[in-house]
């Protein structure tokens, strides 16, 4: 029996725990999930970029929102224009407090005219209920009841076509559909957290294992590989996707104002529909920020290889770079002063570059700005030349095709 002190296990645990050679577990929203199956991340990472990677993402918080005011609730909760969402569409969104600072982010799937699924990183029932006062809407949390698998990589569609009752060729980027695997009904969304071609599969928790097994069998020819969240962490940085409480501090978790970030600062302008009708939480603050310009911006930082080589050469070493994503704040300098900080940095195997997601102050966040990023060279602080670049770092042609 599970003691209350133990982490929960996901519906795929029976499979994932057997495959996890490294026993490298990570905590995710109260669940125990695989950090990496292998001692090195290489194999899992390259499954994402070259083959098909199977990732257990069941700990995502899931809510179903239904009723006559379901659209109205999400319209009020988020800066997205929900009225423009059709049934079958999925929208990525952040949501804010009244000061326009991000609380959380996730996806909204429109399952029906009055029926939505919302995913979140943090428990959100209280915030959803607070926003639903005076509305005719039912909010149900399904985090434990719904299992979720992410199948990512250029071969993911081919694998799914083998196991699903329906072909997925017609399923466009950020759309979802219902189908089944064997006799298990699933819903599939063309979404993911890797910036590659990919899908997320949603099913009842007690029917999760047959779906896993079917995918593993059908994917064998394509080199399907169970993948932990550490390899996904590298891929998501390459894709320019940020993570709550790593790359931004959720407003309710911030100790001081300066720790909070707005969606505009996080580069989510495209997901902030200030032209939509009516009140939404944080509207006034976001309008003001839009007018006055953001003080900060999340940007990509690309370290110049030669520069890095020089720093390490001074002590007689080749460049030493951590082989996984590092969640460590690194100062970004320009004009002799600090102008920002990198929140996650990683070696990008596919790009062969040392990259980072960074918060940079105006005006230094303009693409092309030359900056320096602090690195540690044999226990000494050094500054490697780097450039501000556009996000995402990596976007294969097949991502949206």
């Amino acid at each position: 029996m599970l003691s209350t002190l133990e982490l929960k296990v996901t519906p795929f645990h029976e499979r994932t725990s057997r495959l996890s050679v490294a026993q490298n577990w990570r905590r995710w929203a109260g669940y125990r999930v695989v950090g990496s199956y292998d001692l090195s991340l290489d194999h899992e990472y390259w499954a994402i970029r070259d083959r098909a990677a199977l990732i257990d993402v069941s700990p995502l918080m899931k809510y179903v929102i239904e009723g006559p005011d379901a659209a109205r609730l999400l319209h009020r909760l988020t800066p997205r224009d929900i009225d423009r969402m059709t049934v079958g569409q999925v929208a990525y969104t952040g949501w804010c407090d009244e000061e326009g600072k991000l609380i959380d982010d996730g996806t909204i799937s429109r399952l029906g005219p009055q029926h939505f699924r919302l995913t979140a990183a943090e428990p959100s029932l209280r915030w959803l209920s607070m926003n639903a006062v005076g509305m005719d809407v039912r909010i149900t949390e399904l985090t434990d009841q719904v299992a979720a698998l992410s199948l990512q990589g250029p071969k993911s569609r081919a694998v799914l076509n083998r196991v699903c009752k329906d072909k997925l060729d017609g399923l466009k980027y950020f759309r979802w559909m219902n189908t089944s695997v064997g006799n298990v009904p699933i819903s599939v969304s063309r979404t993911g957290y890797t910036g590659d071609l990919g899908f997320e599969l949603w099913m009842e928790a007690d029917q999760a294992l047959p779906v896993w097994d079917a995918l593993m069998t059908a994917g064998d020819d394509y080199g399907i590989t169970p993948c932990g969240i550490l390899a996904m962490d590298m891929a998501r940085v390459e894709a320019g996707l940020f993570m709550l409480d790593v790359d931004y501090t959720a407003a309710p978790h911030a100790w001081i104002e300066g720790q909070k970030s707005s969606p505009l600062e996080m580069g989510l302008d495209w997901a902030v529909n200030l032209d939509k009708k009516g009140y939404f939480v944080g509207r006034r603050a976001l309008e003001r920020e839009k007018r006055e310009g953001s003080a900060w911006r999340m940007v990509g930082i690309e370290v110049e290889w030669e520069g890095l080589e020089r720093l390490f050469a001074e002590v007689g070493l080749p460049p030493q770079i951590p082989s996984m994503a590092v969640r460590e704040s690194r100062p970004i300098m320009c004009d002799g002063k600090q102008v920002g900080y990198a929140s996650t940095s990683t070696w990008s195997p596919v790009l062969k570059k040392y990259i980072a997601l960074a918060h940079v102050q105006r005006p230094y966040y303009e693409v092309g700005t030359s900056v320096l990023m602090e690195v540690t060279v044999e226990h000494h602080r050094k500054y490697a030349p780097a450039k501000v670049v556009k996000l995402p770092f990596y976007e294969p042609a097949w991502k949206k095709k």
Binding site: M130, N131, G134, V281
Partner: protein
């Protein structure tokens, strides 16, 4: 002609606000859902042939409001507060410490009679401080700007002028219970109880509750002492005077105009919609309806920030006052004055205990006033939210306990009764628009006073909706018949 400002509710605060604005040259339209102006301070027909002050037994506007607005209000006189004691004795209390008062107190305690003038002086100072506080704009804590801090500094100066000893005593008395406060002055339980009863009048608190030191000052200020101020010809004449003055200034009052919705365009006021569907445009709307009703029903929670909605939902209303009117044949045998059945502190506290548990007090604290043949019983405590019963069932219990309690004090009363008509807290909500039957539009308790009224951070009469202001009892200065809330709000609107 279009109006500059629409005011929702023709209670005293709405009408006071309307007059200040009209005086400053604004075109003002007051919309009242009932067919009569005055709100709770209303004189109207009731039952068969009663015409009386249905809710509020008396009152006065702040004298400076009367003179600011040049109002022709009828004279009001302060009545003695007469506490009926077991065994037929009576304790007669007035704020002017006349010989009769001192003799009456002396009959229960010589020492207390000696201390009475000192107590009255202290209460006058304390309520004077409260009066000053009620006209001082409150800052939006915790982020006080310099311009907000200035009036506050003035208030502190006011307090200093009381002298170091009295300043300390006033501040100390606010959070105290009425019992603790009166224990420091008086030894007689009857005297303590009578003062404690005034302290909890209109509140869902007992004389042992923290903060009844404050409500005592509040009620003392509004009454100008302990007994009510009866208005010659009925309390409704105050509203009549305000309506007349408003009309003379070019303002308009529309009765039977029930506002159903405040119309917005992206968090900015555009006007109001009435129950009959009519829409009236205005860029400024002030609401004298209670804050919870205004914000959650007329504006609607979906239009407001979630944290703000949470705060509005959390405003404590908790009405527990009922009224029982008795039409008699005239031979009720009541003396003149504000009569109370509150013989001991324990008695009043027990009456309040019932309300805590969702029950109607079996032995209520009553305030009894007579106007000709009509006897009115102000009944505490009769909680809005009953446990296990509803007001359909409980009305008979209420009426019986009211009559039994009053008749025990005045035996002649029972046989004189011809008709009984009562108002439960549910009636106060339905007929007079008071959410949860709360006459103060939000309890007067420590965490809902000054800069926390109607809710923390929103004591400036403003709301998250541009052009919407709050001006009724539920905001700073409010609670009671003084008109202070209406004046404060009007000043904010004129500055905006």
């Amino acid at each position: 002609m279009a109006s500059d400002v629409i005011i929702i509710g023709a209670g005293l605060n709405g009408l006071v606000a309307a007059n200040y604005l009209a005086k400053a040259g604004k075109r003002v339209l007051v919309l009242e859902r009932r067919a009569v102006a005055g709100g709770q301070a209303v004189t109207e027909a009731f039952g068969s042939g009663f015409r009386l002050d249905v809710l509020h037994a008396g009152g006065q506007l702040r004298p400076d409001i009367v003179s600011d607005l040049g109002l022709d209000v009828p004279a009001s006189r302060s009545e003695p507060l007469i506490s009926v004691l077991p065994g037929g004795g009576q304790l007669r209390l007035t704020a002017d410490s006349d010989d009769r008062t001192l003799a009456s107190i002396g009959s229960v305690s010589k020492r207390d009679a000696e201390r009475w003038p000192g107590f009255v002086a202290f209460m006058s100072e304390a309520s004077g401080f409260l009066d000053a506080a009620y006209r001082t704009p409150m800052p939006r804590l915790p982020n006080v700007s310099f311009s907000e801090g200035l009036p506050l500094a003035k208030l502190a100066m006011n307090l200093r002028q009381l002298g170091p000893r009295d300043m300390f005593r006033v501040i100390r008395a606010l959070p105290m219970s009425a019992l603790e406060l009166t224990e420091e002055w008086f030894e007689s339980d009857a005297v303590r109880a009578a003062i404690g009863a005034v302290a909890v009048h209109g509140a869902t608190l007992g004389p042992m509750s923290a903060g009844t030191g404050y409500t005592l000052m509040h009620n003392w200020l509004n009454r100008g002492g302990l007994g009510h101020r009866r208005v010659e010809g009925g309390v409704g004449r105050i509203a009549d005077a305000l309506v007349a003055a408003l009309k003379a200034r070019g303002g308009e009052v529309r009765l039977s105009a029930d506002v159903k919705r405040i119309i917005l365009d992206d968090q900015t006021v555009r006007g109001v919609r009435l129950a009959n569907g009519e829409e009236i445009a205005a860029s400024t709307v002030m609401s004298a309806a209670d804050p919870r009703h205004t914000l959650l029903t007329l504006v609607g929670a979906p239009e407001l920030p979630p944290e703000f909605v949470w705060a509005a939902q959390s405003i404590k209303m908790r009405g527990s006052v009922a009224k029982v009117h008795l039409l008699t044949d005239g031979n009720h045998g009541l003396p003149a004055g504000t009569l109370i059945v509150a013989p001991s502190v324990r008695y009043v506290e027990r009456a309040y205990d019932a309300a805590k548990y969702g029950q109607v007090s079996q032995q209520p604290y009553l305030e009894i006033t007579a106007d000709g043949a009509v006897v009115s019983l102000h009944y505490q405590f009769a909680p809005y939210a009953l446990r296990e019963r509803d007001w359909g069932q409980e009305r008979a219990v209420l009426e019986r306990s009211a009559v039994d309690t009053a008749a025990a004090a005045f035996p002649q009363l029972r046989s004189s009764i011809r008709e009984i008509k009562s108002l439960t807290p549910l009636d106060l909500e339905r007929t007079y628009g008071l959410t949860e039957g709360d006459l103060n539009h939000g309890q007067l308790i420590l965490d809902q006073m000054f800069f926390m009224r109607p809710m923390p951070g929103w004591s400036t009469h403003k709301t998250p909706i541009d052009g919407l202001f709050l001006c009724g009892s539920g905001v700073h200065g409010g609670g009671g018949i003084s008109g202070a809330a209406g004046r404060n709000a009007a000043k904010v609107v004129l500055k905006a």
